[in-house]
Symmetry: C2
DNA sequence: CTGCTTGTTGCACTCGCTTGCAAAAATAGG
DNA sequence: CCTATTTTTGCAAGCGAGTGCAACAAGCAG
């Protein structure tokens, strides 16, 4: 099956009785074309079903319009909503998203970036994992923009978008304290990414400041299932926590379900829970979870705006606020 | 900021002391190159950080390796998991996914397909919405493959993947009947897509066969919020249903939460619920929802396999089975 | 009518790669 | 050692677009 059936600018030119340059100019904003030729070209293009070949255009202009989204576990609620925001805003900026799934091997983030280079992507946005420095250097050297979201590691020349994880965690401690809680616990995964660790450290630091001990438990990855296990571990301790900060909402859901159905605990009267991300499920009435909202649209906006800027030398690090969303999993409020 | 910093085949050729063609052949599987030159070329390429320009390659070969995923509300659990499966399998087949978000108007699907044509995508996979026939014809005429998932509308030349919605709905009716339910209801959205309607029709047909009436209620889109509203409408009827088939899981979650928290109904003893999709949340202990699993991996496999086939003339329609997943939202089992 | 400015248009070159073709090199056969 | 065959290699012609440059037409002042 040959695929050379796409209609080319030449054909449009012939039909409109003009040169190929004319049709090229018609589709290039700001080029010099008379109203008359533009009309005739557009007409011919419409009739033939002509569409500019972005591959060829990208080749000439050295600007493909492609932005790679590099992500693992993209069906996770928070990730999915971030992808949605990013694709939406990229499209509004007339760029297009390429999605690279890095679920498989570990060096696959590197592989993904190689793909991005191969397709001459204008930029890559990394939502998970951390590529090798040699690769990111290659990207930057090649003139590809790089955005790291919640990666919190330094890469000169890349834009790094992070949240104020520490501060959020501190605020949640205070909220729990005000709610009258005294036995604090932090439910974390073993993923140990910088942003997750910042939440843990922020929470523990707040505890120390108030002279209160914080039980830290870590298990698995940031999933519902891990929440189940963490609940089992935390709630069987001799000094049962009455306040648990979960490193993300998914985990919090698992923990809450287990606390209720397996330990018959009432939330928030016997146990207060705070999560992070504000995924859709957090607002469901079974959870009604007090949490910190990831400003996904704002994150996407920062990233996309930065991509459109000519100069990228200065201030390539943003720290955004995760806003506290009060719901019913904490007393008072 | 100029971006012409990517290293080209010419540079690699110079460094390796061979011709451009040699480096091109080194990266073309099955081309005739001696072991010696291949080694020298690879070495030079590695040193320079060379990566084949897929834009140019696609231009020559008339085969970009790009597959467009056209989807709306991609942060919905079912959609997200389908996207994950598709991107994963596409990558295994050494293709790459372009993601186009069609959140806005309905003709945005048409726009998306135009984008696909512009990037000379080898194929487009449509997960939501239905494009105009004129556009799909243009795609097909241009030699672009087209896959429609759960769209259930005829488009000659495209691959259509659907589930046995009717049959699944019928099975769920029987299951509910066996569970001792007598007042059946069907909770649907107003989206009225063919696959959703097929579920409704299948369920109602089964009701008629058993001489039992089925209350049908439709509201909004297939979201949690719609489930809330539908619960309020259905559970305030004078003849309160004791069995509700929800057109998808998301809606079922909203309905269950409302039934429990607002109407104080026990599930499954006072109300049995069946959903559709088997999203992750269906397995969470708050829901523990009996549902039909979308065979996402299988759907993705069918799509990707078909894309690799040379001949596409025959049998371009697949109907897959949604398997019943028994959980606790229906008595017995 | 001439000279000059402004605006359009076409030619031809370029982007980075693949590939048919024919020349060159390596290998085999006698 | 020579010829026939098989690899390997380089040349050059594309692929489909954008764009500098020069030619050309139109409009205007003098």
């Amino acid at each position: 099956m040959s695929r050379k059936i796409f209609v080319s600018a030449k054909e449009v030119a012939d039909r409109a009785g003009v040169s190929r340059s004319a049709v090229s100019r018609t589709f290039t904003p700001g080029a010099s074309v008379s109203e008359e030729t533009r009309r005739r070209v557009s007409e011919a293009a419409e009739a033939l079903g002509y569409h500019v070949n972005h591959l060829a255009r990208g080749l000439m202009r050295n600007e493909s319009g492609i932005v790679c989204l590099i992500v693992s576990e993209l069906d996770t609620p928070y990730r999915a909503s971030l992808i949605r925001a990013l694709t939406g805003q990229l499209q509004s900026a007339s760029k297009i998203a390429m999605l690279i799934n890095t679920d498989r091997s570990d060096d696959s983030v590197d592989q993904a970036l190689r793909q991005a280079i191969s397709y001459r992507a204008d930029a890559s946005i990394i939502l998970s994992g951390m590529p090798d420095k040699s690769i990111t250097d290659l990207c930057l050297k090649s003139g590809q923009r790089l955005v790291l979201i919640n990666r919190d590691e330094d890469r000169d020349g890349a834009l790094m978008i992070n949240l104020n994880d520490r501060e959020a965690a501190r605020r949640s401690f205070i909220a729990l304290l005000r709610a009258g809680c005294r036995n604090f616990a932090f439910a974390n995964s073993e993923a140990m990414t910088p942003s997750l660790m910042a939440r843990e450290e922020g929470f523990c630091a707040a505890g120390r400041e108030h002279g209160l001990e914080v039980t830290v438990e870590r298990f698995g990855s940031t999933t519902y299932q891990s929440g189940v296990v963490l609940a089992q571990r935390l709630l069987t301790r001799e000094k049962r926590p009455d306040a648990i900060f979960c490193v993300n909402d998914l985990l919090a859901c698992g923990l809450m379900d287990t606390a209720r159905h397996q330990f018959n605990l009432a939330i928030p009267s016997e146990l207060c829970v705070v999560g992070f991300d504000d995924i859709e499920q957090a607002s469901w009435s079974s959870y009604n979870l007090t949490t910190f909202a990831q400003p996904v649209e704002q994150i996407a906006a920062e990233a996309v705006t930065w991509l459109d800027q000519v100069t990228s030398a200065e201030a390539n690090s943003r720290r955004l606020d995760a806003e506290l969303v009060w719901r019913g999993s904490v007393r008072g409020g």
